[in-house]
Subunit: 237 residues, 2 copies
């Protein structure tokens, strides 16, 4: 009778069900970490790894392929594989296909956008150049004065807020926006969330620009919060 046949309170060690490729992948990642390898450094050739780890080239290749997929290495013919500083957001871009994400995650992402835009107010306020502000002014110039008349135009929305991301100067954030966008748009298009209405206290894009120009960091942050308030509705009541 083997341990496997019994599932009661005997001290039975869990069987390692991971595949060979899984193990090799982890081994390689550990190697990258422990050896303190830097971008540009080379890792052993496939055939060398085959010998070192005692598995077939097939397995080595599949494991390397995974590292390649997550952007940790890069391989060229004759040269072999070299370490790379991964583009963190590149992956997200690939895997974030809205119709495949479940609703909970989509909602999380929607919230994430609100969180980020409020939080990055400080970056924006401290980094906006006069040229940036001029550009923002131009973007909002075509908007009607009265909030009541402002339709919710996703494209215009993206243009304005996209510029804000750019002003933040944080490239990871900028990439982030291009990732959040499809999900964001999807949330609206699919009717998960009702298109926002404006009440009288609403802060318009024009107001935001004004405050960015003449206010201070705190004012701008709080104004941004008010601007996004319409999106928060439905979450908190």
């Amino acid at each position: 009778m083997t341990d496997k046949t019994k599932n009661n309170s005997l001290n039975i060690t869990a069987v390692d069900s991971s595949s060979l490729v899984d193990k090799v992948e982890q081994t390689l990642i550990d190697l990258l970490i422990s050896e303190k390898l830097n971008p540009g450094d080379q890792i052993p050739k496939e055939l060398e790894l085959t010998e070192m780890l005692g598995v077939s080239r097939t397995v080595i290749r599949e494991a390397l392929n995974r590292l390649k997929t997550i952007g940790l290495i890069e391989s060229t013919k004759r040269k072999g594989s070299t370490i790379k500083s991964p583009d963190l957001l590149f992956l997200l871009k690939k895997s974030l296909i809205p119709n495949i994400l479940d609703q909970a995650t989509l909602k999380d992402i929607f919230e994430l956008r609100l969180v980020i835009e409020i939080g990055m107010s400080d970056l924006i306020y401290n980094r906006a150049t006069p040229e940036d502000i001029a550009e923002l002014e131009q973007i909002v110039a075509t908007e009607p004065d009265s909030p009541k008349e402002v339709l919710f135009d996703v494209d215009h929305e993206i243009k304005f807020h996209g510029k804000l991301y750019q002003i933040s100067g944080n490239h990871t954030l900028i990439d982030f926006q291009t990732i959040l966008l499809p999900a964001f748009r999807y949330v609206y298009d699919s009717g998960m969330i009702e298109s926002p209405n404006h009440d009288s206290k609403w802060v318009s894009h024009q107001d935001l620009v004004k405050i960015l120009k003449d206010g201070n960091a705190n004012k701008f942050r709080n104004a941004m919060r008010k601007h996004l308030d319409r999106h928060f509705k439905g979450y908190f009541k």
Copy 2:
């Protein structure tokens, strides 16, 4: 004379240098999108794909392996591969190995943490239960009263802020924290950023809890900003 031999101003179409696997991968992703497939749906078997796309099983497998790596599919023996709602952050966790990231990205991530923690103040304020607050009070109970005496203890820092992420109720954010953390710690340990000092206007953890309990959303958000101010130093001057 082929187009390839000339590199001057002739109208020369760029050569497609992507590998077969690259193409198959993209083809499969397009398939997922266009066919409006949902999690749980099956995709064709490897051998079927081999016939459909006219490439060897090796290539098919490598492409599938990539989709598996980015969490879009899942494969089991005999059953084949099925679509999966990807865990977005799982990937980041793997590829974010601090010593491999370049400095610029590390700095971006450091900023990102600040952005997120300020921005999620609203989530925290609106979702904190009395039990949450009690727990926070317990965490900060051991801290000295005077800001001046507070040492910068990364572990304690993580404990407190980790609880805040949890209160936010946004699972993507919670995952995010476990990702930002190693990078965050690395930034300090490697001396890229000096360990913060507290000035007299500093808002302590204790202050934050008090405001979360008795203040309002705006006060809490601005307090959080002040609390993190020491980290912002060095960026803006």
